[in-house]
């Protein structure tokens, strides 16, 4: 069983590898991060009760936001060791050179 920081690293990697995810968010009202000794993983909150990942979606979208977030959730949930998983779409980031 991985500790919170290890799990946060794994979740972060899984989320970033999902197609359509630009980056991980940092939180709006409070920093979304998992803290360890001398280290933190930003964009993922892992505690005893849940795993929460904050994503920034790449624009143009490869699919509607809920579908993309659901894919992220499925990937992350498979690594979350049974904890409820939440995905928060924090922002949309337009790719450079794309005309919207």
């Amino acid at each position: 069983m991985a500790d919170n920081l290890q799990l946060a690293r794994i979740v972060s990697q899984e989320a970033l590898e999902t197609e359509g995810v630009h980056s991980l968010g940092t939180g709006r009202y409070a920093e979304a991060a998992t803290y360890g000794p001398g280290e933190k993983v930003t964009g993922v909150v892992v505690d005893r009760y849940e795993v929460r990942v904050h994503i920034v979606v790449r624009y143009p979208l490869v699919e509607p936001i809920p579908a993309l977030a659901e894919r992220v959730r499925e990937r992350v949930a498979s690594r979350a060791e049974g904890r409820p998983t939440t995905v928060v779409v924090e922002d949309l980031e337009v790719e450079r050179g794309v005309d919207i």
Binding site: P64, I65, E70, R73, V88, V89, E90, L92
Partner: protein, 188 residues
């Protein structure tokens, strides 16, 4: 509302604390505070009339009004305190949320694409059920066809948010006629 109630309670407790300290000082005649100096007689007289009226069941309309007002105020504060706070994020589906800021940015982008709109402001509220409550306020020139532009903006926003998959439970578009010279953010 929690903040308002907290401020009220803090002020109330601070007042009670000060009152308690003064009572100790006055009742023990400390630091020059003497119980005999307090205008308790006039206070008693002012309080005696309504209390007598209350005891005899002979309240005048002002007393009844004041009591009803106090009861209503207490009821309103209690209801507001017990009401759960509105969520910070918009629920899209189970376990998936989007920030209000992201919905605002998406909506503003679409509203501002409309050439008739001089400037706009968008307010997004999250609800306890899935879907956002979106209020759009847009400024147009006085000579514009307001109902036409309103319907166009409404359609565009609805279509775009539906395309990207942001659920909207309530969309309101309000158009305000504005002199272009008074438009602060952007004039075409």
């Amino acid at each position: 509302m929690w903040i308002f109630n907290r401020v009220v309670i803090v002020l109330l407790l601070a007042g009670l604390f000060v009152l308690g300290v003064l009572m100790v000082l006055y009742s023990l005649d400390l630091a020059g505070y003497r119980l005999a100096d307090l205008p308790l007689d006039s206070f008693n007289q002012a309080l005696a009339r309504p209390v007598r009226n209350l005891e005899s069941g002979n309240l005048n309309i002002l007393d009844v009004g004041a009591l009803v007002l106090v009861a209503l105020l207490g009821l309103v504060l209690l209801v507001l305190e017990l009401k759960p706070p509105s969520p910070r994020r918009v629920q899209m589906q189970r376990g998936i949320y989007i920030t209000r800021k992201a919905v605002e940015t998406e909506t503003t982008g679409v509203v501002d694409q409309n050439p008739e709109v001089l400037q706009s402001s968008v307010n997004v509220k999250a609800q306890r059920r899935p879907g956002a409550k979106v209020d759009v306020k847009a400024s147009v020139r006085p000579e514009e066809d307001v109902p036409g532009v309103q319907s166009e903006v409404q359609d565009r926003v609805q279509r775009h948010l539906s395309q990207v998959g942001i659920p909207v439970s309530n969309l309101k578009v309000r158009l305000v006629e504005t002199d272009p010279r008074e438009a602060k953010t952007r004039v075409r």
